[in-house]
């Protein structure tokens, strides 16, 4: 069953009377219980995509296309109906968790607040559920933790508290934006294991720079570059045999490959080159690449790539 179906998604921002296209014709489908990773260069539009699904983009954003969740096109919902879905049906673990937790509110309040709001349970039951969740997230002394403030926890713990908050309402679809960024290897491992354990019966969209985490958590991977999808497929296949020159460059940039960077810089929205958007940095560039914009073509089972070399 298809749980989420994004079709022809286009996001632009209006800034000083100028329209800047940030995301172009993105199609992405998530089957129920599927976990999918979204990777790509900083600024390519991953967070904007996640926020578009959550309808959390600022008011200068223009969204076209459709985002279908079950039977509903989320883009057509009014804000009241959308609030019913946020948190309860779709949960988001945002990038930079430290900024999301309220510094002057206890952890306990922050977890129970959404429970009381969405599930209409008493605050005592909510407390019990919060303790249970913190325990599952390996937070020491969860009873006491309820009365503590965010700054009293380490970065890794705060990340896990945030995950607990998101899981509290048992959403069907989880969108996690960089849940492991900046965590050291042991804490990262622990966080991945917790996410794995608790997202098993959920549908999961993981936005990340961390290819190792993507590999461990997600069966499918989608690679974005300059506002569009350039490659997608089975995670294992894509990471072991990347087809798009950008994906190949991403892998050779990895510290394990000895840090061999892709030359140059990714273009800014508003000044994407004509033709292939990667051509200024591509080592396989041909004449045609500067003129013709490649389309996303199917090359095998579940496998797609946007590059003229495979036409």
């Amino acid at each position: 069953m298809q749980l989420l179906e994004i079709t022809g998604l286009q996001v632009s921002f209006i800034k000083d009377r100028e329209i800047i296209h940030v995301i172009d014709s993105v199609n992405l489908t998530l089957e129920a219980h599927e976990s999918c990773a979204l990777v790509g260069e900083s600024g390519c539009g991953k967070t904007v995509l996640g926020m578009a699904v959550m309808r959390l983009l600022p008011s200068n954003a223009q969204i076209e296309g459709s985002i279908r969740y079950r039977e509903t096109n989320l883009l057509e919902l009014n804000s009241h109906d959308m609030l019913q879905i946020l948190g309860k049906e779709i949960g988001m673990i945002p990038q930079n968790s430290a900024m999301v937790l309220n510094p002057v509110m206890t952890i306990g309040r922050q977890i129970t607040e959404s429970l009381v709001l969405h599930e209409g349970i008493s605050s005592k039951t909510a407390d019990e559920k919060a303790i249970y969740l913190l325990k599952r997230m390996d937070i020491p002394d969860p009873h006491y933790a309820l009365s503590q403030y965010p700054h009293e926890f380490s970065g890794g713990m705060r990340e896990r508290i945030l995950i607990a908050i998101v899981l509290a309402c048992e959403p069907t679809l989880i969108i996690a934006d960089e849940p492991t960024a900046g965590l050291d290897i042991l804490v990262r491992k622990q966080t991945i294991e917790l996410l794995m354990e608790h997202s098993r019966d959920k549908t999961f969209l993981l936005i990340t720079h961390d290819l190792g985490t993507a590999h461990e958590l997600c069966s499918r991977i989608v690679v974005m570059y300059a506002g569009e999808i350039v490659e997608s497929g089975n995670t294992r296949e894509v990471l072991s045999m990347p087809m798009h020159p950008y994906t190949q460059g991403l892998l050779t940039s990895h510290p394990s490959a000895g840090l061999h960077p892709i030359p140059g810089m990714s273009p800014n929205p508003g000044s994407f080159p004509e033709g292939c958007r990667f051509y200024t940095r591509c080592s396989s560039v041909q004449d045609l690449c500067t003129k013709e914009h490649p389309s996303l073509k199917e090359t095998g089972k579940m496998r797609k790539v946007r590059c003229l070399r495979y036409d």
């Binding site: 900083s42 970065g155 050291d184 290819l211 960077p261």
Partner: protein, 262 residues
Amino acid sequence: MIELKGITKEYLSGIISKHKKTVVSDVSFSIKKGETLGIVGESGCGKTTLGRIALRLTEPTLGEIWFDGVEITALSKSSMRKMRPRMQIIFQDPDTALDPRMTIRDSIAEPFKIWERSGRHETNEKVLEMLDIVGLQPDLISRYPFELSGGQKQRVALARALALDPEFIVADEPTSALDLSVQAQVLSLFQGIREKKGITLLFISHDLQVIRNMADCIAVMKEGVILEIQRTSDLFASPGHPYTRQLIDAEIEGEAWFGKGI
């Protein structure tokens, strides 16, 4: 080139009980000229404090710091100030190093001005030269930090740190805010400059793979204590402490997917 002897840093917390918290405990190490020492450890283990102490930006509670044959912990404020241009720090978040109201030109020119190293005309040339060294287009010169990407900002911060030709640099998680390909760009740039100029480097990171690529020796730190220091290849071949073993195993496990068929 640089040597730390028995460095300890304690903070007093609590107003009434005066609870003592030891952030760095009896740390000693030395770095030879032109070499890089990497410090790896979990967040909150005292890496940043130690890096700041090495430059005497934070005063240690106990211990000595020697720089190029001089004990800088014994220097007066004014003699310390004279030392400053010879040592620099690069932070994790380039935003903390760059003044948002200053153009890129002014940010890079500032150290020259403060240290009265050059006249106005020369400064402009110097700024362009620095931009070239860190691989930035000269047309970025009149932009403000908010108009740059994270990778570009970190390059500007690097240009600023390199402006006065320092001999010793502390880099505190310089690329952990950047994505993979930009990280690779900034680090390989860093490697090149370090080799060309013979800079001595203290490189702090929570990412063992990054450290492995950058450092001649690695110190493993946990809860304010250095557990072991070894040459990089030796550390990976025969870690001396169970915690190091744990780190390396987690790293290998996490990277198991990598390299299959590439």
